[in-house]
């Protein structure tokens, strides 16, 4: 009952279907007075109540990450529950030892590198030695407990929007869907990509989303709600918490007389993580900021003195080492462990100029680690310094030429633009003369067209480094579902349980996503008529 068909059975033959950017919106609009069609009419003779149908449904939004799950109702600003995964969730039903007075938690080795905090993860992206059935069991239990404790759902139809990264491997996706379908008995599940939802939650259409998660940091360029480019780095929460572990053990060795006796895993993973989330911070600029304060950290279960004094400045070191690596020489860095500013810069550099111009002034820093105070400021400052130093040329070394040949022909644009955090550009509406426009000719026609387009609204900010706060991917999905925007990928329960993900192509092979695509443009409320019924479904970006 609980298990869904194995992934092998569900192997999909669907070709990769990224929605093309050509899905245009060629609808005219007339400025005549008319009744608004905010309610849709479900048929010629139907009553217009169809649009309110979702009032009778339980619209749930789940965001699943490798460390925690956020879940709540659509239309609410924050999730009802956000659960961190811990090995306690794996205990058997009826095992109440945890609440006994003399209970000692079993000793769990901390691991290092890849294995750091393995038993606190729901899944890993590397699924080679991952027990997928176990992941499904865990997800199902998490989802069921969320329902039991926080949702208390009645008998109405349940529809779920599931926010997952678009780079999720398909076997994992299949397992997640199975877990959620069984856990809340949902009728349909809509898949929404994390980066796009984070963009929506900032009120934007295009953005560069830096998601500093647990296992990896992803920098995703979103342009008009489509993911156009993505880069990854392993410098993320996992590395950060391991650095915090190293720091605490070092400090303990410094204060204890018998330093050799301090074992490698004196502190538990939970203690280390609590230190990280409570008083960890990130400094701006390389030098210490001289707060010069000692923080007393209590460790009630420690074998050594129950408090540890750590200087406040020292608590910013782990972020330095794990995420920014200022000392690392560039030739030591691999593609998979770029420091965050370099990752951001590289992602911007590999974007087409037009997209870069839009994205660079819409940087969204999100993910669990982004709550570390100071990290956004630092990341932006380092990014600006990088752009100052390198400009937008992908060539780092011109060898015997010694000089960037282009900088000779455009001497005036070689200077960097002033960096501003303001929302509105210069008063006359001209675009800032920044590096991103370096190789663009001034085009009066394009400019006129864009001015006509944006007659009533101020011109968008482009070409300057600017960060925008986002409410997070969960809130984005909540907004999207609340406004009844249908996702590209909507999976029905019966079909999934019958065919698994292979059902994506079972109905019709190579079905194109484009005609189904109803993004935030016109027609998003296609709850009636032909758009309401889907003969077949595809997997969109997850295919």
């Amino acid at each position: 009952m609980a298990s869904t068909p194995s992934y092998d059975v569900r192997k999909s033959t669907l070709s990769r279907l990224r929605p093309s950017t050509a899905a245009g919106q060629q609808l005219g609009s007339l400025p005549s007075p008319h009744t608004p069609l905010s309610r849709s009419i479900s048929g010629l003779y139907g009553s217009p109540a169809g649009g309110y149908r979702s009032e009778e449904e339980n619209l749930l939004v789940f965001e699943l990450g490798s460390r925690c799950m956020q879940a709540g109702f659509a239309g609410e600003s924050s999730p009802r529950c956000s659960t961190k995964y811990s090995p306690d969730l794996e205990r058997r039903v009826g095992d109440y030892r945890r609440w006994a007075i003399d209970y000692e938690p079993p000793h769990r080795p901390l691991g290092s590198g890849e294995t750091w905090g393995w038993d606190h993860e729901l899944w890993r992206m590397d699924i080679r030695d991952l027990d997928l059935g176990l992941v499904e069991d865990k997800v199902e239990r998490l989802v069921r407990e969320a329902e039991l404790k926080y949702f208390l759902l009645d008998n109405r139809t349940r529809r779920v929007a599931l926010v997952v990264p678009s780079s999720l491997p398909k076997p994992l996706l299949s397992v997640l869907l199975g877990g959620v379908f069984n856990g809340v008995q949902a009728q349909t599940i809509t898949l929404l990509p994390t980066a796009v939802m984070a963009t929506t939650a900032a009120g934007l259409r295009s953005a560069l989303v830096i998601d500093i998660g647990w296992e990896e940091t992803t920098a995703t360029a979103v342009y008009e709600y489509r993911e156009v480019h993505q880069r990854h780095s392993v410098r993320a929460g996992k590395a950060l918490s391991e650095e915090f572990g190293t720091l605490l053990h070092q400090e303990l060795r410094n204060v204890t007389a018998a330093a050799g006796d301090v074992s490698e895993d004196e502190f538990t993973f939970e203690e280390i993580e609590e230190v990280m989330t409570r008083i960890g911070w990130c400094r701006c600029g390389a030098g210490p900021e001289g707060h010069g304060k000692e923080i007393k950290i209590p460790f009630p279960t420690s074998h050594y003195p129950n408090t540890l004094d750590v200087s406040f400045d020292r608590l910013s070191d782990p972020a330095e080492l794990a995420l920014f690596a200022p000392e690392a020489a560039e030739h030591d860095l691999d593609d998979h462990n770029l420091p965050l500013p370099l990752l951001t810069y590289d992602t911007l550099l590999h974007l087409p100029v037009d997209v870069r111009r839009v994205c660079m002034s819409r940087i969204i820093i999100t993910g669990g680690v982004s709550k570390l105070p100071g990290i956004k400021r630092r990341l932006l400052a380092d990014l600006e310094a990088l752009i100052d130093k390198r400009g937008w040329t992908p060539v780092r070394n011109y060898g015997s030429t010694k000089k960037d040949p282009r900088s000779l022909s455009h001497p005036s644009t070689a200077k960097s633009a002033p960096i501003s955090y303001s929302a509105i550009p210069d008063d006359d509406g001209t675009l800032s003369n920044s590096e991103s426009n370096m190789d663009r000719e001034f085009d009066p026609i394009m400019r006129k067209i864009s001015q006509l387009h944006m007659k009533h609204s101020p011109p968008p900010v482009e070409g300057v480094i600017r960060a925008v706060e986002s409410l997070g991917a969960w809130a984005g999905a909540s907004l999207v579902v609340n406004n009844r925007v249908r996702g590209v990928v909507e999976i029905e329960r019966e079909r999934f349980l019958q065919h698994g993900l292979a059902g994506a192509s079972a109905a019709k092979k190579d079905v194109s996503v484009v005609p189904q695509r109803q993004s935030m443009g016109p027609g998003v409320r296609g709850v009636s008529g032909a758009a309401g019924e889907r003969g077949s479904w595809g997997l969109g970006v997850w295919a």
């Binding site: 609808l27 609009s29 008319h34 608004p36 600003s77 176990l134 199902e140 009120g203 911070w281 929302a423």
Partner: protein, 503 residues
């Protein structure tokens, strides 16, 4: 519960639905695999579907909420309130943000005599830790309806005049103050998107797609079809814009806010920040000063149905104050109870429970030395049943051992009148066996509706100290119900783990 030794867990067949059709397949149940933790339950947690003749665990039951209530004040909450107010008590039940203990409402100045009527102001205090709502400067006029007073006190907060000198912002047409809190930003964004989408849907092409012929918009278009006047200029669509002003919900990153957080962290130290597990309750707060009392979550009474055939398995009485059930088909009255005790330990007259009862007498296993245990099966049914036991020869898990069931097939008597047994014992018959040497193929002891057979356990040489040996036992029960042989596929994996191993 299952903290005592020996304990018995039952595996629910829902772990592998193909099992019932292919009982002969190779993959035997492995109690040491991590997945097993999700399908093993104590007998008390299991229900039984009388239509499917299957054990039903929480995973394979569908639940329906019978009523919602607050666990703290035990008042029922109607479903409409749950939907509108969310899953929280709307009266005065709040929990401490520091230690999650329920908060008490107390007057700020305790009255001199008990006869005096309590006068305000009132505060919320935690009886466990020293937190009180005075810490966050929160006082109430009345001792009741704290929720209403809290939401009232929240409202004036956002209107703290933070005048933005930026002239561009004042250009924004709405006179509302810029959204600051998460809720306000969310509301602004929601309104923004709603506005954008409505605007776009009104496009005429879309009107036809929606078949809204009655719309005046469509009519004007139809009329225009026949008009010979000048052609209407086809206008380009207005592209959907992004949120441009703070009134739309755009929040720009403010480096000062991060600096503030760092300074506050440095000043407050460890005690100034909220712990990680409490951050899960109200996710926004980072500092103790920002902690607000947490409304206590509601609980539900739930009816359970079999997922396969929708049979009602359990239905509690809707009254909050009773713990009784209208319907409850527990597995314990339909499935044989499995228990294990060391051979030689005091035999119980009736093997009532597989859980507990031995306490300190749990013996240690010696490597390479055989130990004997009595596996007791108690039949709750009113018919005699035929039982077949099976176990893997070598156990998996931390302790390796070779396990032999000396008598794997036998019959267990019906659960008849208790007097039968009492009278039989008086007659001198008693429960047979219970003496001599364990012998292969022979039942060790037998009672009215229970049978004990001997299990021999030989631990491997490299046993680990302090670990628990778990033995998976496959129990197959056959019984005749109403003449025809039923339950040919009846199956439970009773799975007992009894023994401390001392290396």
């Amino acid at each position: 519960m299952a903290t005592q030794f020996p304990y018995t867990y039952y595996s629910c067949p829902c772990i592998n639905p193909t099992d019932s059709t292919l009982p002969e397949q190779d993959d035997t149940f492995d109690p040491s695999s991590p997945r097993a933790a999700f399908s093993l339950y104590p007998l008390e947690h299991l229900l039984y579907c009388t239509e499917c003749h299957q054990v039903r665990c929480p995973r394979c039951t569908a639940e329906e909420v019978v009523c919602w209530y607050c666990p703290s004040c035990l008042f029922e909450v109607p479903s409409s309130t749950v939907r509108s107010e969310g899953n929280q008590c709307t009266r005065s039940c709040y929990n401490c943000p520091q230690c999650t203990a329920p908060l008490a409402v107390n007057p700020l100045d305790p009255p001199e005599s008990t006869s005096e009527t309590l006068t305000g102001p009132f505060i919320l205090t935690c009886p466990y830790c020293t937190w009180s709502s005075l810490d966050i400067d929160l006082k109430f006029d009345k001792p009741n309806n704290i929720t209403g007073q809290l939401s009232g006190s929240k409202r004036p907060e956002p209107s703290t005049p933070v005048d933005t000198p930026d002239p561009d912002l004042s250009r924004a047409s709405s006179p509302k103050p810029d959204p600051k809190t998460r809720d306000e930003v969310f509301t602004a964004l929601n309104a923004f998107y709603k506005n954008q989408i409505t605007h776009d849907v009104d496009a005429p092409g879309h009107a036809f797609a929606e078949q809204a012929f009655s719309s005046p918009h469509s009519i004007s278009r139809l009329l225009n079809l026949y008009s010979t006047g000048k052609k209407l200029k086809r206008q380009r669509p207005k592209p959907m814009s992004e949120a441009l002003t703070p009134a739309d919900g755009l929040v720009l990153f403010d480096p000062e806010s991060e600096l503030d957080t760092i300074k506050r962290t440095a000043a407050g130290g460890w005690e100034g920040t909220l712990g990680g597990d409490k951050a899960a309750i109200n996710t926004e707060a980072r500092f103790v000063d920002d902690a607000r009392p947490v409304a206590s979550l509601l609980r539900t009474k739930r009816a359970k149905r079999c997922r396969a055939c929708r049979t009602l398995l359990s239905r509690p009485e809707p009254k909050i104050s009773t713990t009784r059930y209208k319907i409850r088909v527990v597995a314990g009255s339909n499935v044989p109870r499995v228990g294990l005790r060391p051979l030689g330990a005091k035999a119980r007259a009736t093997a009532v429970s597989g859980l507990g009862g031995l306490g300190a007498e749990v013996p240690s296993l010696k490597p390479l030395l055989p130990s004997h245990f009595v596996l007791t099966l108690t039949n709750p049914l009113f018919d005699a049943v035929k039982v077949t036991l099976a176990t893997a020869r070598d156990t998996t898990g931390p302790v390796k051992a070779r396990v032999t069931i000396l008598c794997p097939a036998f019959e267990v008597g019906a659960n008849t009148d208790v007097w039968d047994e009492a009278l039989a014992r008086d007659g001198g018959g008693g429960s047979q066996g219970g003496g001599g040497v364990p012998e292969a193929g022979k039942v060790w002891e037998r009672g009215r509706n229970w049978v004990g057979v001997v299990v021999e356990v030989v631990p491997a040489g490299d046993a680990v100290r302090g670990e628990v040996l778990e033995i998976a036992v496959f129990v197959r029960v056959e019984y005749e119900a109403g003449g025809d042989l039923d339950g040919a596929g009846k199956r439970e994996v009773g799975f007992c783990n009894p023994i401390w191993s001392s290396g």
